[in-house]
Symmetry: none
Subunit: 251 residues, 2 copies
Amino acid sequence: MLSERRQKLIEDYLNEVEFASLEELSEKLDVSISTIRRDLTRIEAGGRIRRTHGGARLVEQKKEEYSFSSRQQVESDSKDAVGAVCADLIGPGQNLFMDGGSTVFAVARYLERKSPHIVTNCLAIASLYAGNPEIEVIVTGGVVYPRLQVLVGDLAVHAYRSLSADIAIMGGGGANENGIMNSHLLLIEIQRAMIASAQRVIFCLDHTKIGRRSFTSLCKWDAVDILVTDRGAPKELLQKIEAQGVEIILA
Amino acid sequence: MLSERRQKLIEDYLNEVEFASLEELSEKLDVSISTIRRDLTRIEAGGRIRRTHGGARLVEQKKEEYSFSSRQQVESDSKDAVGAVCADLIGPGQNLFMDGGSTVFAVARYLERKSPHIVTNCLAIASLYAGNPEIEVIVTGGVVYPRLQVLVGDLAVHAYRSLSADIAIMGGGGANENGIMNSHLLLIEIQRAMIASAQRVIFCLDHTKIGRRSFTSLCKWDAVDILVTDRGAPKELLQKIEAQGVEIILA
DNA sequence: TTAAAATTTTGACAGATTTTGAATTGACTT
DNA sequence: AAGTCAATTCAAAATCTGTCAAAATTTTAA
């Protein structure tokens, strides 16, 4: 049995049962416990499972703004609607900062006719218009953060600090009446640099994000000009946010 | 049985079963294990499968959006061969600068097991390993140059100047006995920065580039440590280049 | 056309590398 | 102390790479 095939089988099995013990896997695949251990270590490096005492379990798929491939499907209608409405706010030829994340990517897809100048640390957005001579795309640089496929680190922060934009189009992990939150510490510094160098700040968050808590506070509402979300968002919370001077647009 | 036909059968079979062991294929096609090995090596060069210990597996078809759709086809056998040979020169965990262009991209495809640290201004290379946590990818930043899908400009130049690498893997538009040439002025400054910050400089040029003139001179041969090309290149010219202290490796 | 020469393909094999299972050791829990 | 699990080490087995000579194929020459 090929080791890669075995590892794939382990992954498939874990996808069914959530958790499996070493012994269980060892018997099922007819190899020694040692081999199972080694397999699990390798699979864990891929990130989809986690080793535990005596076995391994599936990593719960975080329902987060970022992280593309899996998320892209879920709530894509909401995201699309938010994206289209947000793109309407952009004038032709404006300079944009664009954050990572699937909602912001949805905005990017509607920008073609605006011929914008885009500065981004998101590889997906950069690649989207990389072949289009009508749209100038500037990539910030930085270290690729594999889980989110965005660029992080000093290069990215410096790039945003040294440029300026008409509008920053941002995403986030959650929002409540106190402000916006994000779960990825590596991104916070970058997002703050974007906000600081942009004239107007637009946050795009589909309704699942409104009212959700996340890991760290990114900014308060006074830093935000516009919040674009969809009708599924809780109205009373939106009112509290609006009272803090944020223009709210519903898709 | 023609070897090409056999290779096609192997590919078809892998498309069905995803994994196959050497033994399995050897029996199925009634040839020796050695032959299967060689077949797999050749098929792997095409990029659709990957050899593993004891067999081979299908490569998940990634979205085509990032790859060099048109140019990739032309001379792709030569480029692949050059890519494989060049990748052999890289040690595990080394720091690499990687230029843009399809030949350098062909090198990138063979680097998976070397777990390199890659610094690049090429979006295709960045996207290739963006989701792989084993491989650290740093993107230089810069303005996307749509024709080549590489990043150009000050951000890119500064990034390369401020970093350093064990090896720079470079492409070019042409080469003659005086040195390497490139047709894209925007790239010259960047490539010079790469060369200046790297310990060893490897140029990868398929045979169509050897002897071809291009627009501007990029560098003389004394800046180059190794030239990787294929057997189609004119031998007398290679000798003249070798006489200038360049190690020449033929794929 | 046939024969000889050159090239490519194939199978086999030796030495290096990787994978595997078992044994040992050490950390931690009960 | 006893038991469980993880990490490490080690030797055996499996597999990989490079090389070589035989076989098959293609090219060249007559």
